[in-house]
């Protein structure tokens, strides 16, 4: 699985209230509607600016806070192809995999990539190519069991096909 796009950069400890405020999540299950408010506390125009395939790059502890799965879902809805961070909060990491949004831990890439860089990520090989800077970073590949869920596009598709866990 490869993803290629432009990088959008965020800092440390981006919590789920920032990704999508709790005040919206109770009102609707329509992710397209919710996605309009993604990251709005930091950048009110974020949802209009991102393009499918774009890559979110963040610092440590990305997605801390609530268990709201709406957080990775709205980012996926906007077309974010992969999130690269120094580290992820545990529930966010699980949720992202479960909704079919790849997440990659790489302190090096998190530090080196600048906003606007063109980046390509090879999930199986564990390689990140920064096409703008001409650099390559490696990361510990996602465990095969989780890669299988990602390849199906998330836990919903995985379980619809398999009926039960095949781990």
């Amino acid at each position: 699985m490869k993803v290629k796009g432009q990088a959008w950069k965020f800092g440390d400890d981006i919590n789920t209230d920032i990704i999508i405020s709790g005040k919206y999540k109770f009102k609707t299950l329509d992710m397209r509607e919710l996605a309009k408010h993604a990251m709005e506390a930091l950048d009110p125009k974020f949802s209009e600016k991102v393009k499918p395939g774009d890559i979110l790059v963040a610092g440590k502890n990305f997605g801390c806070g609530s268990s709201r799965e709406h957080a990775p879902r709205v980012l996926k809805e906007l077309g974010i192809g992969v999130i690269i961070a120094k580290s992820f909060a545990r529930i966010f990491y699980r949720n992202a995999v479960n909704v079919g949004l790849p997440v990659v831990e790489s302190p090096e890439a998190s530090a080196r990539i600048s906003e606007g860089d063109q980046v390509e990520v090879d999930l199986e090989k564990g390689l990140i190519r920064n096409l703008t800077k001409g650099e390559t970073y490696s990361f510990k590949p996602i465990p095969p069991a989780l890669m299988e869920i990602l390849r199906e596009g998330g836990l919903v598709e995985y379980l619809r096909k398999a009926g039960d866990y095949k781990l």
Binding site: D13, I18, S21
Partner: protein, 418 residues
């Protein structure tokens, strides 16, 4: 090499020895979802081809986040939950006004040794009863509804030893705020937290629930405490059996052990905008406040009510301050009523809301105005947490909250004479 408490519980549940790092699929004893997460779980359940819930008797649904409903849209989501529950035979259904999901689980369902997952990050609270309990997202709740199982990576353990007797007016909340201030928001990521030491043994089960509740604010997967006589007494008094009370081995390997001496701890406050931005209350003393919130799954139990009421009794809160008092459950509310605490709150000028999450999550109750300062006994002070991104939220204990409500500014309760 011995096993940690987390490894013990998971090994026992699987019937074979597992250690930190192993990827496992385990049966779930209890799965919870509330009105913020159940609707999406139901949607995912259908999308994954789910027809019948595998173990309806292991499912708990709670309507607490926007309860009662604030709009037609929210009402539709509530109705979706009710319809699904009756279609699937989910009998553990707590509708509007029963209480906060975690409190209901602790009061009525969780037993030591259980594997508990909930569509809410503070599910880690039930580690205080010796259960392996953790928060998951809606699609995972759906997967548990369908398969009865969940995958976990067996976590390493961060051991937190707390020693020393607490000074007057210093509470379990101050202890956990202090710990989070040291460990920081990501200090326990992917790990189980296990609290031990004399201070924790001396604490009531209610106080321990407060410690475990906030394990996730350090990134922890669960917040475990070894069950003891107090745990078993808590369960017995609520008509429940002892479950499987397990202990970690003496020679277990912990990722890290941190020692805290709380014998001279000052009351603590978490300043905005992160929970790990913790200071002794004296550093922010005097800051004017507009609203006080005594509630949430962290600090809305009977002990918290009693402590706050002992301070407010016969007094009036500051005229500028609104104080919202929200009991954790109907049971807590009734007991507070019987003990005369409700009268104390009302006479002091507080507003009593029905049990639930409304104020804590800013969905529809008690939303502050831009520029206002809130002092809250809950567990999160993130930007926008209570519904208004321009309000400042400070977290503190019920004692600090009550004393500050009287003075109208953040006040150290330590010197306070009841």
């Amino acid at each position: 090499m011995g096993l940690t408490l987390a490894e013990k519980i998971l090994s026992e549940a699987l019937g074979r020895r597992v250690e930190a790092g192993d990827l496992i699929v385990v049966n779930v004893d209890l799965v919870m979802a509330h009105d913020g997460t159940a609707p999406l779980a139901i949607k995912s359940f259908r999308e994954m081809g789910g027809e019948r819930v595998k173990h309806p008797e292991r499912v708990v649904f709670v309507i607490d986040h926007i309860a009662p409903s604030s709009s037609e849209d929210v009402s539709k989501l509530h109705k979706l939950m009710r319809d699904f529950a009756s279609e699937q035979g989910i009998e553990n259904f707590y509708d509007v006004g029963e209480g906060v999901c975690h409190q209901l689980l602790a009061e009525r369902h969780v037993e030591p040794g259980m594997i508990v997952v909930g569509g809410d990050s503070h599910t880690c609270m039930h580690g205080a009863l010796g259960a392996f309990a953790t928060g998951v997202g809606s699609t995972e709740v759906a997967a548990v509804l369908k398969t009865g199982k969940i995958w976990f990576k067996v976590p390493e353990t961060l051991k937190i030893q707390v020693e020393g007797s607490l000074p007057p007016m210093v509470t379990p909340k101050d202890v956990i705020l202090h710990i989070i201030g040291e460990v920081k928001a990501d200090g326990a990521t992917y790990k189980a937290v296990e609290y031990g030491g004399e201070t924790v043994r001396q604490m009531s089960v209610e106080g321990r629930l407060t410690l475990s509740n906030m394990a996730v604010e350090m990134g922890g997967k669960t917040g475990l405490i070894e069950p003891d006589e107090k745990t078993l007494e808590y369960l017995k008094s609520r008509g429940r059996g002892p479950g499987k009370p397990l202990k970690g081995d003496r020679d277990a390997e912990h990722a890290e052990t941190l020692n805290f001496d709380v014998s001279r701890l000052e009351p603590q406050v978490a300043a905005p905008p992160t929970v790990d931005n913790v200071k002794p209350v004296s550093e922010v003393e005097g800051l004017e406040i507009d609203q006080v919130f005594l509630g949430s799954c962290t600090n809305a139990r009977l002990e918290d009510r009693r402590l706050a009421a002992s301070i407010l009794k016969g007094r009036k809160i500051h005229p500028r301050v609104r104080m919202l008092v929200v009991p954790a459950s109907r049971t807590v509310y009734l007991q507070a009523l019987r003990e005369g605490l409700v009268e104390v709150f009302l006479e002091a000028g507080c507003v009593l809301c029905n049990p639930g999450c409304g104020v804590c999550v800013g969905g529809h109750q008690g939303v502050p105005a831009p520029g206002e300062v809130v002092l809250s006994t809950s567990n999160r002070n993130f930007v926008g947490r209570m519904g208004c991104p321009e309000a400042d939220i400070y977290l503190a204990s019920p004692a600090t909250a009550a004393v500050s409500a009287l003075t109208g500014k953040i006040t150290n309760p330590a010197g306070w004479k009841p």
